[in-house]
Amino acid sequence: MLEVKQLIKSLPNGRKVLNGISFKVEKGEFVGILGPSGAGKTLTLRCLNGLLKPDSGSVVVQGTDGKRVDICQISKRELRRARQKIGVIFQGNHLVKRLSALENVMIGRLGQISTFRSILYGFTDAEAAEAVAALEKVKMEHMADVRTGNMSGGEMQRVAIARAIFQSPTLLLADEPISSLDPSNARVIMKLIKPLSENIPVVGVFHQPDMTAKYCTRVIAIKDGKVIYDGDPHLSENLLAEIYGEELQQIEANKNIPALIPSEPTLVHTS
């Protein structure tokens, strides 16, 4: 589980980008964070795994040994330990492009193996088998030895999910995982992320209210660094207008694109 309390962060120029963000996520929940550009969605997410240190507030997660730790208070070394159990999926450009899909999946456990082993790329057969199994879950095992730099956006994102599965995290974060994908690939990715939330809390930042309505169990809307909505993922027109303001038209325009794709895509091998 994840408990965020009163996150506050100011820029050097005094502007408060996070102004008291609080929420709680239990396992079984797939929470989508929505909000207009510059509202503080990604900053909030970065606070959740310590990439950003808030000025005040706390982020309590379950540590490696089951104990609860506050990400904002622990030392660098303890943070590294805590991060071993926090999976993160970024926008898709975060894979090591000159390494194969399998090697990228193995990066998920980098924090959990000794430095000496990692320098020699020394993963055991059991670990390699597990990594392949993770790739199988996202239907990418046939491309295990292909460099990720040669893959399409959707394929790269599936490898990123396999990496998170292999890491076996107790909390999964996703920073705009579908923003660079076309609607049909985006749905494939959402379908892959959703079942992960059965065992662990999943928190994602999204730009597509229709996607969060379809796949998330709960939506949190952030505007001007504050939580302005927390609840049912199906948002009314009025609520959307309130959240997005002038940006709404642009989002409505994007929403029409999926309608052009005839049927629900299913997960298939791509080559």
Binding site: N49, L51, R80, R81, A82, R83, Q84, I86, G87, V88, F90, Q91, N93, H94, L95, V96, K97, R98, L99, E103, I107, G108, R109, L110, G111, Q112, T115, S118, I119, Y121, R147, G149, N150, R163, Q167
Partner: protein
């Protein structure tokens, strides 16, 4: 556009810079005591001198092979240790994995090295170690830092910051990020820059040899000093073949790697 745009008047703005250039060149030639008569005489005597060198003394060929091999070894070891040294410096000098203080200090050191001629480094080392290939190897290794260190640091800085962050977000230590993320990404650049540097180092090892590092450069210098011009000519031919073949080898290897890198 009309025909007027092509009148000779458009060259007017170049007249003043041209006059300044001519005056500066002429002034510099005066200061150094260069005269056209001397230049002509020098050219003639140069050609005559080359005639004296011909034909090469093939009996010296076998004796020259070992020094030539020594020069190649000096260049190879100098490049190898130089690349290693430069890689370490580059990792310290890259903004996305190093801290700002270390980065600025290392960048400064790399800049200082770049402004030091190789011969100055060698003379300092010869003073410390005495004559021989060892100061030559160390001098070449250090001389790599200025160029390789900067180029590699720049290629590391090109790596997407989000890739490094994403590896840190699974709890990876910096050294793990370097071995699993940074090194695979810069490997094609590392190899191709190092091969390029090897070409330069072959030439440098000949020059440094003449100054005290041994090898075929020393043989050339020695033959000139003993007025054995046919022997010197042999050394020159060997150097020519050596430099040309390493350049070709390195060119083909780099081309092959570039193809590989393009496939990513």
């Amino acid at each position: 556009m009309t025909w007027k745009d092509f009148s000779l008047k458009r060259y007017r703005k170049y007249i003043l810079p041209l006059i300044i250039l001519v005056l500066v060149t002429y002034g510099a030639a005066m200061v150094c005591g260069i005269s056209y008569g001397e230049l002509g005489r020098g050219l003639v005597s140069g050609v005559v001198f080359l005639g004296h060198m011909f034909p090469p003394d093939w009996s010296a060929f076998n004796e020259m092979l070992e020094p030539a091999f020594q020069s190649i070894i000096i260049a190879f070891l100098g490049t190898f240790f130089g690349a290693l040294l430069s890689l370490i410096m580059a990792l310290l000098a890259a903004a996305n994995i190093s801290n700002p203080w270390v980065r600025n200090i290392t960048r400064f050191l790399i800049g200082v090295e770049r402004s030091l001629p190789e011969i100055v480094i060698l003379l300092l080392l010869v003073a410390a170690f005495g004559l021989g290939s060892m100061p030559g190897i160390i001098a070449l290794a250090i001389s790599c830092i200025g160029m390789l260190g900067k180029l590699l640091a720049d290629s590391i800085e090109e790596i997407d910051h989000i890739m490094i962050e994403s590896m840190q977000s699974v709890g990876a230590k910096k050294i793990q990020v370097i071995f699993f993320g940074v090194l695979p990404q810069i490997l094609p650049n590392l190899i191709s820059y190092t091969l390029f540097r090897f070409e330069l180092n072959i030439r440098l090892s000949v020059i440094l040899g003449a100054v005290g590092a041994g090898g075929v450069g020393y043989e050339l210098d020695y033959a000139f000093n003993m007025l054995e011009y046919h022997r010197a000519f042999t050394a020159m031919l060997i150097i020519l073949v050596m430099v040309f073949s390493t350049e070709q080898l390195s060119y083909f290897l780099r081309k092959w790697i570039k193809v590989d890198a393009a496939l990513k």
